[in-house]
Structures are given as C-alpha cells and as structure tokens.
C-alpha cells in the first residue's frame, strides 16, 4: 500500500521526535507533519500524480481545467445576456413565441456555467492534487474517570451552593410559579388560536350542519335558487337528459370558497334511472322525507366527498357512478349515492330540490345531514 513517501511522524517508532514548529529552517512539509503528529494523523501514502512537473500529461489536465472554467465563464455571460435581453416578455399569449425560450435558455446557460465550474474544480482536485492516504486515530471512549469525577464534583458543589434542598419554601414556590408560567406559555398560543368549531357568529348556527343552502340564515327564509358559476339561475330545461351541472347556492358569494361545503352536482337522470332512484329513496329514509328530495328526474348531490372533502365530481354517465379523483371513492347515483368502492364509507348527502313559480330550480331546505368528511362527534344519520 505504501508505495510513496512515508512521513517520518514517528508515532510508530515510539520515540517522540522533538520538532519545534517555530524553527524557521523547517520546510512547510516538516511543519505539516508535526501538526499531523499532534493530531494523531499519519500520512502513509503520498504520491504526486505528476512527479515531474510540466509533462504533457499534466499540461493536458491543466488545459482541461482551464477549458472547463472558461466554458463556465462563457455560459455565465450568456446567462446574463439572456437574462437582461428582450427575449423576456411579461405577456403570455397562446401559440409559440420566441419568449418561450427564455426560461429553458436560462436553465441551460446557468446549468452549464455551474457544471463547468463544478467539473473544473473536481478535475483540479482529483487529477492535479497528490494522492494520499492518511490515517487518523480515533478514541471510542467517554471522558476519563478523572474528568467525569471533576464534572460531578463541580456539579455537586454548585448544587450545595444553591442548597435548594434545604429551602423547601423556595422549592415549592418555584414549582408553583413554574407551573403557572408553563400554563401561561401553553394557554397563550392555544387561547389565541382556539375556536369553537360548532358555533360561528351571533346566530349560533353550527357550521358543520349549515351550508349556503340555509335559507333562514342567508336568504331571509326565501328558498335559494341553484346558480351556475357566473350566478345565472338554472331552469330544468337547461340540463339535458343524462347530463349534469355543478351548481351553487344563489346567494351573495355563493360560488366562492366562502361556501366551500355548498357546491352540488345537479344531475338530470334518464327515465329508467330516475325511476330506480325513486324506488330506492325509501331505503335511505332521510332522502325520502317530505315527498322525497328529488324533483322529477332531477337529483342534486353534495359535491364534497364524504371521505376527505375533494369534489366527487367525475360523472360516469354509463354506469351512473360519481368518482372522486383524489382517492377513487365511487358513489352509485341511482342508490342514494351509496359508496360502492374506495375508502369513502358514507353516502353523498342529497339536497332536496324543487322549482319555484318562475320555473327556476331551488333548494327546498338545507342538507339534512352534515356535509363532507367525517369527524368524531358527527351525528350518525
């Protein structure tokens, strides 16, 4: 292994040579070796990769390193030029434009600049510096017994200085005070953030049981119309047979995320599917009350998945399934949105719908059950 120079560190010979590192006659190498000896390091193999300076092979490596650094510089300048150029347009239109190349060219030039620098540095280190094998001793021991004893004694004396043991009054008072401050440290962040989940606002309605379809709260008791994303109202004839439409409560802000539990999927079922659902309504009595929650062949289900709250909105017209794309829960439309596959365990709530005197679709009342993901105290209906 040790084909090269073996340093005379002297650790193996036992006799510690007396080297005075301040001696001005020492070479750098001799001083280094003395430092290494003090750090319990022995260089057992030290071999310059180019023992004769200036050979063709060495100059070739030098040229390679220089080339890489130059490449890096050129690429970096190109990066700067592209960065400040007019190639960048703060304006996106459809179609392909020269500005599409802005970011890729930045990445290419920046990557090249960094790669050139990195490779140059690596080649310099790996190819031009001498190969060496150094051995450093390591000691797998804890502190010496002496040091431990010193630390323990010091701690013991500090303890006796404090003498908290013979001052029970202070000890008790400190314990109580500490408890109080600890409670304060907990109560401040918790107290600042905590909110009663089931009570929001002066009317005291439970947000988990109230959505934007609550006519008393949001529409002065007047039935709320179903609207599209642009707040246009929906008439039954707007939805073709077998078609579906996402609808929102027709109240101010009804389509925004303020009412994140309110979106519904309005489905216009084919005759036979509608009949099947009508026959199935009584199997889930909540949906059958008050003459059933359907209106003619129309049914509206909450769009919020009962599993994790994603919109369960991929409508498979052929199989009458609703699929939630997040975790693939599937609900059977013709059976009160019963979950038939995937991790969801509960039906999508059905919204009782009807038509007002002007022929627009309305919600007859708010959802009968809690919408969305389950929680500990959720009513079981």
């Amino acid at each position: 292994m040790s084909t090269g120079h073996v340093s005379a560190t002297g650790t193996e010979s036992g006799a510690v040579p007396t080297v005075d590192p301040t001696d001005p006659n020492l070479t750098y190498r001799e001083v280094l070796d003395e430092g290494l000896r003090r750090d319990e390091i022995e260089v057992v193999h030290y071999e310059p990769q180019f023992p004769v300076p200036g050979t063709t092979a060495e100059r070739r490596i030098e040229r390679l390193v220089a080339f890489l650094f130059l490449l890096s510089g050129v690429a970096a300048i190109a990066f700067v030029v592209i960065f400040v150029s007019k190639l960048f347009e703060p304006n996106y239109e459809f179609g392909s434009h020269a500005s599409d190349w802005f970011t890729p060219l930045l990445g290419l030039t920046l990557g090249l600049a960094l790669l050139g620098l990195g490779l140059g540095v690596l080649v310099y280190g790996k190819k031009l510096l001498p190969n060496e094998i150094a051995i450093q001793q390591r000691h797998n021991v804890a502190s010496t017994p002496e040091n431990r004893a010193l630390a323990v004694g010091t701690l013991g004396f500090i303890g006796s200085e404090l003498a908290i043991q013979r001052r029970p009054l202070i000890k008790g008072a400190l314990g109580l005070g500490g408890l109080g401050l600890g409670a304060a440290a907990i109560v401040v962040p918790v107290g600042m953030m905590i909110k009663d989940p089931h009570n929001s606002g002066p009317d005291g309605t439970d947000p988990y049981m109230t959505t934007g379809w609550n006519a008393e709260k949001f529409n002065n008791g007047k039935p709320i119309r179903l609207v599209r994303e642009d707040y246009t109202e929906i008439k039954p004839e707007h939805v073709s047979t077998g078609g579906q439409m996402t609808a929102f409560p027709g109240i101010p802000g009804g389509v925004t995320n303020e009412f994140a539990d309110s979106p519904i999927l309005l489905i216009h079922l084919r005759d036979d599917d509608a009949q099947e659902l009508r026959d199935n309504l009584h199997s889930y009595p909540v949906n059958a009350q008050d003459g059933g929650s359907m209106w003619n062949n129309f049914v509206a289900y909450s769009k919020i998945c009962t599993h994790a709250g994603c919109p369960a909105s991929l409508y498979e017209q052929q199989t009458n399934r609703l699929l939630c794309p997040c975790h693939q829960s599937q609900f059977l439309i013709t059976d009160n949105a019963r979950p038939i596959f995937g991790p969801a365990a509960r039906r999508l709530p059905m919204l009782a719908i009807g038509v007002d005197e002007e022929g627009y679709l309305i919600a007859r009342r708010d959802f009968d059950v809690s919408v969305g993901p389950a929680y500990w105290e959720r009513p079981s209906s």
């Binding site: 750090d39 960065f83 930045l106 280190g125 150094a134 989940p197 947000p207 995320n257 699929l323």
Partner: protein
C-alpha cells in the same frame, strides 16, 4: 508626518496575527484542516440533501420577495392572458406574477420546486445508506433520530410550500389535509377550526402556512441540520472495512485541500443539475390548474412525490368507519384517520426506536465505526427491503389512477392489486432479500477458499473439464486458500486482480503506447522437437 507604505505581502500575516490575537484560532483551525475524512460515493448522498437545502434557501428568499400569501380575492390582470379577468386569491395571482411578470421568476420557482423534490429524495436515499450499512449504531443513534426528524420536517415544509400558490391542485391538497385533521378522534374539529380559523378554507390558513414555510420550519431545519453535520464532524465519519481500517482509526484524506475541493465541486454540480431541471423541465405549472375552487378538481390529481405514499395508503384503505356510542352519544372514527394519522405515527416512532431495538436484541453495547456490508447482516437488510416494498406499494398506489389510465386497466383492479400487494410484497421481499444475502455471503467464502474464476477451461487426461481458479493467497495442494472474510469486497473477476494487462489510457488515441516485448526469434530447426503423428 511620514506616510507608511502599504506592504501588500505583509497583509495576510498582519490579518492572521490580528485574528489570532483576538480569537485564538490557530490551534483549532489546524485540527480542522488536518481532520481525516474517509471517502466513498455513498457518503455523498446526504451532501445532496444539504446542498439542495442551501439552494432552497437561496431560491426561496428570492420568491418570498414577490409572493404574498393573502387569500383576499382579486381580479387577475397580469401577463397570463387565459386567466385575465378571473377572480382568484392574491396568493395565486402573485404566484402567476412570479411565473410570467417577474423576470427570471419562473426558473426560480421551478428550481425551488425541483430542489425540494431532490431534497426529499436525497434524504430518503441517504437514510437507506445509513440503515443498510448499520451506520446508526452506537455512538450515532442521536444522528439517526435527527435524520428521521429532518425527513418529517422536510415533509411538512414541502407540503406547506406546495399549498401556498393556492392553485386548484394545492387547494385540493389543503382540503384533504383539513379532512385528515378533522378525523382525529375527540379533538379533530377543534384542531381544524383553530388551525384554519373557522371553517375550511377560511382566510388565515395561507398566512399561517407562509410563516411556517418561510420562517419557523426552515429555522428548525437549519438548526437540526447544523447539529446533524456537527455531530458527524465531532464523532468522525464511519468507514468501510478494508486494508488497515479498524474501529479505532479513520483512513482517508485530510479535510483540506482535496476533500474540500471535491465537496465544492460536488455542490456546484448539484446546483447545476437543479438549474438544468428548473430551466428545462416544467414542474407544477400552476397556470394550467387555475385558481382553487371548492367545486373544481381534475382527474390525475397527484401530490408531490414524497406525499404520494400517504395518498396511496389513503386510496388502499377499505371503507371502515368505526361508530360507537358513549353515554348515549354517537361517536365515530373516520376511516381516513388510520392511513394518514396512525400510519405516519408508526412510521415516525418505529424508526426513532430502531437503533435501540436492534442493540437490545443483539445485546450490543460496543462502539461501531466500521460499516457493515448489507449482505453480512441478512436480517436487517431483509427487514429494510421489506419496509421499502411496503413503501413502494403505497407510492405506486398513490398514482394508481394514472396507471389504470395509461395501461388501460380497471381502476378498481389497481386498487385491489395495491391492497393485496401491500400484504404480500413485504414478506416476499424479506424472504428473497434474505436468500440473496446468504447466497452472496456464500459466494464470497467460496472465492476466498477456491480463488477467482479465470475463465480458462482445462481438460484433464481422463477427459474431464475443469475451470482453473486463481487462488487469492498461497494455497494447499488442493488449491484451497485459507483467507478470512474481513467484511469488505472480495475480488470476483480476474481484471480486479489486474490480469487484463495494461489498460490503454487515452480517449481518442493512446496516451502511452504499451511497450511490446521484443520478438523472440524462432529456434533453429535442429533444436525443435518433432511431433509424431
């Protein structure tokens, strides 16, 4: 007054002297420069995570100058024409501005995202290395624990950052997170409304995530990373067994210059890779997803890759909702609680305890500075592969809708395949790995006893064919050596023994023409032996 000339050559000496007079650094500095580091490619996996983190800090600071996490609704009037006039949160609008209006903003965003993906990947691969080589054993248990914590902190940090742009995809992720929080027994709704400041989505969650993402979690990450690296420095790096390497030494190179130079070069290369990725490969094109709306989702919604295993566990979970009544009230534990709260809990606690479990099982209290080859510890290696199999099934299941779509198979079949594989693959992986380890061990012993296969077939006088083996040490009359296995690579091929002759160096043409042995002239005919036909 006489002006003194500045002696440029004396400046370093003066500065060094002044510094040392004040800080007394000469001694420690020498110790650091001389410190010996062992070298192996697998020791650099953690460095990738470290370097990615630095790049995350750099790019993230740039992004923070332009991003505003406000959830106030605004009408977009920016550079991206297809979304102009739409209502969206200010957070999403400023994310779009970063992508289209800010010069160089898009490459910064994409570099930030790629660096985050690389950060998590490097952490995981680094963890594999530590686990399979037993580098976490005494005295390095604390660093293993810090590593596990760093993974989960990185996970949270990544998820918080992913949620900030408030596009349709990240908003959906946030909604799922709210569903997960809701599922916690007893306190779910309270935690949820405290965190979100009321109902989902509320108005404060992005502001809270923002301060977590740009201040609190990075601060903890930075502190833990500092301790993590400092401990490596103080405890000295582990090393592979090999010639001269013992439990009480470190064989390698001095920290300065060569090792440092290699580190610096490697940092630049990691930086370069992230720059290439950020410029050339699109990631998270939020402008295609649109602003988050509670009613909007698209097929193929996948989170960032490091979250996908939890998405997979959620998808595979059967629809089990526990309901029971206490004192006349109905209560329930939603099914999503198990794969998203309990499973990560187990995945945190078990790894934290693992070094102590293993040491207890082996009654092992000694120091370990030499690494183990995975084959030499078949039980641990098999256990690790078992965990990886479990993880990979979950990871793949996180994209089962994509698989079903691309390979034209039933979506439900992929879910069932995942459920079955989750139970079958881990034990199978354990068994196969265990057998492979034993086989590799046996082959090592065989080569040590019989030597390396030379590829030379000899025909014996009785007609039998035998392969000649090159013994690795002086052998007895049967050609059997008596070498002990020392836990390090056993040469298995002749060219490992330098048998393939001089390699010709040089890329396009040989650097040195190998010296040909002088041709031996044929012996005169009189001296040749006749071969009788």
């Amino acid at each position: 007054m006489k002006r003194r000339k500045l002696d440029v050559k004396a400046v370093p000496g003066v500065v060094a002297n002044a510094t040392d007079e004040r800080f007394k650094v000469a001694g420690p500095l020498r110790g650091i420069m001389n410190k010996v580091f062992p070298d192996h490619w697998s020791f650099l996996l953690g460095e990738i995570a470290l370097f990615s983190f630095i790049i995350l800090l750099l790019t993230g600071t740039f992004l923070a100058l332009f991003f505003d996490p406000s959830m106030t609704e605004v009408v977009y009037q920016g550079a991206y024409a297809p979304l102009r006039g739409q209502e969206m949160s200010h957070a999403y609008a400023t994310s779009l501005d970063l992508s289209f209006d800010v010069r160089g903003g898009l490459i910064m965003r994409q570099m930030h995202h790629w660096a985050a993906l690389l950060f998590m990947a490097a952490i995981i691969v680094h963890m594999f290395r530590i686990f399979f080589t037993g580098a976490y054993r005494k005295p390095r248990e604390l660093n293993w624990i810090l590593g596990v914590l760093l993974f989960w902190l990185g996970f949270l940090e990544g998820f918080a950052g992913y949620s900030l742009p408030d596009d349709a995809l990240s908003g959906t992720g946030l909604r799922i997170a709210s569903g997960i929080v809701l599922s916690i027994p007893v306190i779910g709704t309270w935690v949820m409304s405290s965190l979100f400041g009321g109902e989902f989505p509320g108005h404060v969650i992005l502001d809270r995530f923002y301060i977590l993402h740009v201040f609190l979690i990075p601060l903890i990450l930075l502190a833990l990373i500092t301790v993590h690296v400092t401990l490596v420095f103080i405890q000295k790096h582990t090393q592979w067994p090999g010639p001269g390497r013992t439990n009480t030494n470190v064989i390698g190179e001095r920290f300065v210059p060569r090792y440092t130079i290699k580190q610096a070069g490697f940092f630049m290369i990691v930086f370069a890779v992230i720059a290439f990725l950020g410029g050339l490969f699109q990631i998270n094109p939020i402008w295609l997803f649109g602003p988050y709306r509670a009613a909007v989702v698209s097929a193929g919604s996948q989170p960032d890759w490091y979250v996908m295993f939890l998405d997979g566990s959620t998808r595979l979970m059967p629809a089990w909702e526990l309901t029971f009544s206490i004192a006349g009230h109905q209560y329930m534990i939603p099914g999503i609680f198990w794969p998203t709260v309990v499973l990560p809990g187990i995945l945190t606690v078990l790894p934290l305890l693992w070094p102590f479990i293993e040491a207890r099982k082996n009654k092992d209290k000694t120091y370990h500075n030499l690494l183990q080859r995975p084959r030499d510890v078949p039980n641990r290696t098999a256990l690790g592969m078992m965990c990886i199999a479990f993880y990979v099934v979950l990871l793949v299941s996180g994209g089962n809708d994509i698989l079903a779509d691309k390979f034209n198979i039933s979506l439900n079949a992929t879910t069932w395949a995942g459920r079955i594989a989750l139970l079958v693959a881990p034990p199978l992986a354990y068994y196969i790995t265990h057998r492979i380890c034993l086989g590799l061990q046996q082959h090592d012993r065989e080569v040590l006893a019989h030597g390396v296969e030379t590829g030379i077939i000899k025909r014996l006088p009785n007609g039998a064919f035998v392969e000649i083996h090159q013994p690795l040490a002086p052998a007895d009359e049967h050609g059997h050596g008596s070498l002990d296995y020392v836990g390090w690579t056993v040469p298995k091929k002749m060219n490992r023994l330098g048998a393939l002759g001089p390699a010709i160096r040089g890329f396009f043409k040989p650097v040195e023409v190998p010296v040909r042995p002088p041709a031996v002239p044929p012996a005169p005919e009189s001296e040749r032996e006749k071969i009788e036909a």
